[in-house]
Amino acid sequence: MSGVNDFAFKIGTVNGTGSASANGLLMQAIFRMGIPVSGKNIFPSNIQGLPTWYEIRVSKDGYTARPSEVDLVVALNPATYAKDVATVRPGGFLLYDSSWPLDPDLVREGITILGIPFGRMCVENFQGDRDRTLLRNIVYAGSLAALLGIDMDVVSSMLEEKYGKKPKLLTSNHQAIQLGYQYAKEHFTCPLPFHLEKMDKTSDSILIDGNTACALGAVYAGATVGAWYPITPATALMEQFKAFCERFRVDKETGAHNYAILQAEDELSAAGIIIGAGWMGARAFTNTSGPGISLMQEFIGLAYYTDIPAVFFDIQRCGPATGMPTRTQQADLISLAYASHGDTKHLVLFPANPGEAFEMAVQSFDLAERFQTPVFVATDLDIGMNDWMVKRFTWDDNYRPDRGKVLHREDLDKLQRFSRYLDVDGDGIAARTLPGVGGKGAYFVRGSGHDKHAAYTEDSDAYLELVDRLKRKFQHAATVMPKPAFTLREGATVGLVSLGGCDAAVREAADKLAAQGIVVDVMRIRAFPFGAEVLEFFERHEHTFVIEQNRDAQLRSLLAIELGIPRDAMISILDYGGMPLTAKVVIDAVSRHVGAHGQAAVTPTPRAVSNGVPA
């Protein structure tokens, strides 16, 4: 790679020095130039003082996975300078703050080192520590604008939008941008060999993070009750929900809030709250991450066993225990699929990006009410907290929530007797009533043994009837859960299987493998339980790789347990160090294996087709 509109760079700074807005500015400017771009924020689990990086990938072909190498590093954190120098690709560039002399030990052969005295320029031009620190970020953004060819008109209009109402800030930011820009122009050959040129590939897209997308989905689904306990990386989801509700759900005349957000005392309580609200008939949800899911297990089992809808957004992070709260992983798969004690199975959705997270958020409420059961939306830190370029969200005003089987007073009047857990239709889903309905509608929700009339029982047959109905319900759900997304190539004998945030890297890898003559089909699993198509895909391929971000091959285990696919028929590619997956990891693993097994390369490269499911 590396060339016009095809390169990556990263900025190493110190947490808490205000670099986020400069980095966001850079990424957004590139996006507004019509060039596909993605950004990954790699940050520590503390508030101030530790190293943080921001990686920006520019890809004219629209690849958004984390880059495997960077062409330029902006090294502004002395503590990580040595490490940062080492990560530049051979022939690449390093930009550092030359206010202080560079330690000769840190000079590296084969890369070009550019020094700009950011610190000194700020001291000379701005007053006060705060401004000097904050504006240093804008100065480096200015230099990068010159070095990479960012359109300064775009930058100016963005500053205008942001600080239009604060003239002092607008002036100082403009000045800072110009300082950096002019210095680079005067001292170096600008732009660098790899740089930006305007395109028109982003007009139908937006830059958004998955937490915001889920929150928006919850608003559009008509969720009214949100309960939560703060946890990284899930927190922003409820904060965004609140912000959207304040914008869209406050009654203009009365000031009443058409929503309830409860910051609970812990995750147990958050789960209890949404279950209580779901029982009442509200669309209710919580957002959490692994440690919270652990605490919610008891309640998840209760909702499953008592047929109560509830939506859980799990923004996965590195476990176990507190793990690495600011690193990404997909290691909650099994704990979500079978959360709680006893025989339980749950519906889980795996969006691959914020665009799909928005859609699946809405879908999760429909599924929860239709199947009267907990539904998990499993994203991860990468999807949840990073800005992704995705198609603009659209909405069909004809959408109406699927409330599932709910009996109203008129329906009850026609019945001889209402039995809460009677499976009339044979699909495992019994009709429910909402508290307050009156007539024959009252019943008891109990986590203890109950029969189809909701009466207490310790009778084996009645118990079996109930748990077998729950199983039937789950099997029925498998037929309506979102289908996998396929990208198929003619002649492929190798299959790549993945889920969630791995998708971008896997599809990029598939393209690049095809270019190398290794033709692969891709199946991205979008839901648990798995549909019939998943098994068929395995049956059609001689070799299948299962790519996931956890140590123990949890997806592979689920496939083996639920579909009976022999474990050794699936080759695991596991990447679980906490960073978003790169295409290189997949390419290397697949080519190594295919090479070792002497599989003939197929030429020429056939064109890929997808099944129309958002890939």
């Binding site: 609970a264 958050a270 949404i274 009442m280 209710a284 207490y456």
Partner: protein, 351 residues
Amino acid sequence: MTSIAKPPVKHPSSRTNGLGLTIRDYEGAMSTLCAGCGHDSVTAALVQAGWELDLEPHRVGKMSGIGCSSKTTAYFMKQSHGFNSVHGRMPSVTSGAAAANRALTYIGISGDGDSLSIGLGQLSHAIRRNVNMLYVLENNGVYGLTKGQFSASADIGSTSKKGEANEQSPIDPVLLALTLGATFVARSFSGDKKQLVPILKAGLMHKGFAIVDVISPCVSFNDHEGSTKSYAFTREHEVEAVHTDFVPLRREITMPETGEDVHAVTLHDGSTVRLRATASDYDPTNRESAYAHVRACQARHEIATGLLFVDENGRDMHDFMRTPSTPLVELPYEALCPGKGALDKLMERYR
């Protein structure tokens, strides 16, 4: 939670309340608690209170956790919607239900085990949230359903079957609730219907969290020498604590009619508790004096009963959340979804 349906026999001359319902309409399933368990007396008081207040049974949410006490919900108001959740977590489920539908009346029933150990956090936060509900804590000093372990309200000095004495100080739910800012705090005795029914009624009418600590003796586990109101009696000397194969049939303990402020009540194990009702000049609107009164009674080895504290001007959960008077569950979807136009406009913010 076990229950046996009661045959629906109505006496033709039964009195009806404002809704045309008889007291039988407020009953539930047949109790499966031990004969003489204080919890059954609480049930009877709740039946009475609901009937007297003309509560529409189907507009009541009966909530509980797990324990003998938590079974009580099955034994009153069979036309009400009920929810036996998990041990100690009834307050959160009720918070969610109440958030979603403020139009129902919520009655939460819990035990001292359910509320003061595993559920202490949830109880505290329901108080803090001021959820609009009546919270009845059926307090017997033991874990009944798991057969006689000390609960967190067990008195110092009460002994276990093996003769072990409880040395840890009890958590007093009334002092706890007063400290945490509860807006309605009362205590009563299961056998004192005269006092309990009006307290329950007041609690039901209170806007906000109304906690009523009800001393409710356990027949099965405070039937031995040395227990103040807790621990296991089974068959003397030969039965292990976890296996109750003999449960004595006892009568409900009721309050003697003496017209005095202090009553000594003899429990099943022969021990006595001294219950002091608040005097007629007692001021329940002052949190500090309520606290002082409870402590003073404790110092005299008496248990303060009555409506101990009430704040009628407190803001409840819905006030904090600014929710509309229409229950959230009744808002039409159209009022909740901003629609396509708003989304299209919003998308420009992410460009």
